[in-house]
């Protein structure tokens, strides 16, 4: 039996298209810098965090913790000042900032024992936030450009926690609000082809993949 070609998913809002029929949210989620400078309902913010709560982690340790500030909070400017100026410039129009930290230790281990997958597992919680945001018509943008030591002091992050990223979340806004340099870069990024990412049976090789006559392949 010959299978139909998986439909090319073409997102009209973005130039992204996928080779295989993935859920549309993986293409509509992207890291916009144009936000509408409006608050978001607290219940929506908590819905994003609820999605993160259900992320998988080794031994269900759940190393992720979230320190959040909403734009209508008296702490908003102080939270923006924890981002490098390049990021603060556009993130000031987001609805909330989430500082994502991870517990580097296995809970209640004595003496304290390293939890090796604390960053990896917390990355999956971040993906849950980003995907739930896109599902709701928001977007979430992760930032590596943040002031780690200042964050640790100001947000009182314990030594045993690692500061992973900060996330700006909000409703997509008019790119015309951005500075000309940022406006030019305001487009969803592309990706390496699967052929450069997937190997079988060993690194750098692909001949181990099973190809059946009854299946079309879309390399």
């Amino acid at each position: 039996m010959k299978k139909a070609n998986p439909a090319q998913i073409q997102n009209t809002a973005t130039p992204r298209s996928s080779q295989y029929p993935i859920d549309e949210v993986f293409l509509t989620r992207w890291s916009t810098r144009a936000f509408d400078a409006q608050p978001m309902p607290t219940v929506d913010l908590k819905t994003l965090l609820e999605a993160a709560r259900w992320a998988p982690s080794a031994y269900n340790v759940q190393p992720w913790r979230f320190i959040v500030t909403q734009r209508e909070s008296i702490h908003w400017q102080a939270a923006l000042d924890l981002l490098d100026p390049f990021n603060a410039d556009w993130a000031q129009n987001a609805s909330a900032l989430i500082f994502l930290i991870s517990d580097t230790q296995i809970p209640s281990s004595e003496p304290p024992e390293l939890f090796p997958s604390h960053s990896f597992d917390t990355g999956s919680a971040w993906a849950h936030i980003a995907l739930q945001a896109a599902k709701m018509g928001y977007q979430a943008h992760a930032m590596a450009g943040i002031f780690h030591e200042k964050i640790r002091q100001q947000l009182r992050v314990p030594k045993s926690f690692n500061i992973e990223i900060a996330i700006a979340v909000g409703t997509p806004g008019d790119p015309q609000m951005l500075s000309p340099a940022l406006r030019e870069r305001e487009a969803p990024s592309q990706r390496l082809p699967l052929s450069e990412l997937v190997f079988s049976p060993v690194f750098g090789h692909t001949e181990g993949l099973v190809h059946r006559q009854d299946e079309e392949d879309h390399p």
Copy 2:
């Protein structure tokens, strides 16, 4: 305006329920150990990997690489032998194994420069796989219990790559196939409450969250 209570999402297949109205896939995704010991179409396997391809990463570096083996491959038993015996015992009924590795270096940096978020970003790619799998009626189960040095040698993983996890993917099967000890544990895990994960404005505090009169809160 008073908002309606978000519907309690109750997954009939699992005892999980959420406090906020998240997409159902975050609850239906879980780490089953009961698989049906059947192959999965290669196009479906590639669809999972396509979802991972669109994960976000710092500077769009895309540090994730996937070394896959399908159960109908001549390399299947060799791939199973890279898991610790506890995991190999149930993962032998999966349709495919994916060894997920991450590039620890910034591509083309000279001298080689560390890419600090290689594990975190690869964790988001793992979440994309797991969620796309659940959307398709499959499940993906990540394993930390694997033989790292044996994997590096057998799968020829370069020194600059970190071995993150192995993933078993397949169609959920009859839990009666499992050994009695595993059968007893065959249920979706629960999670810490949001109140233990979310802080504002600083670690350990929650009084910084904005509570509006027009919103119900579900702590």
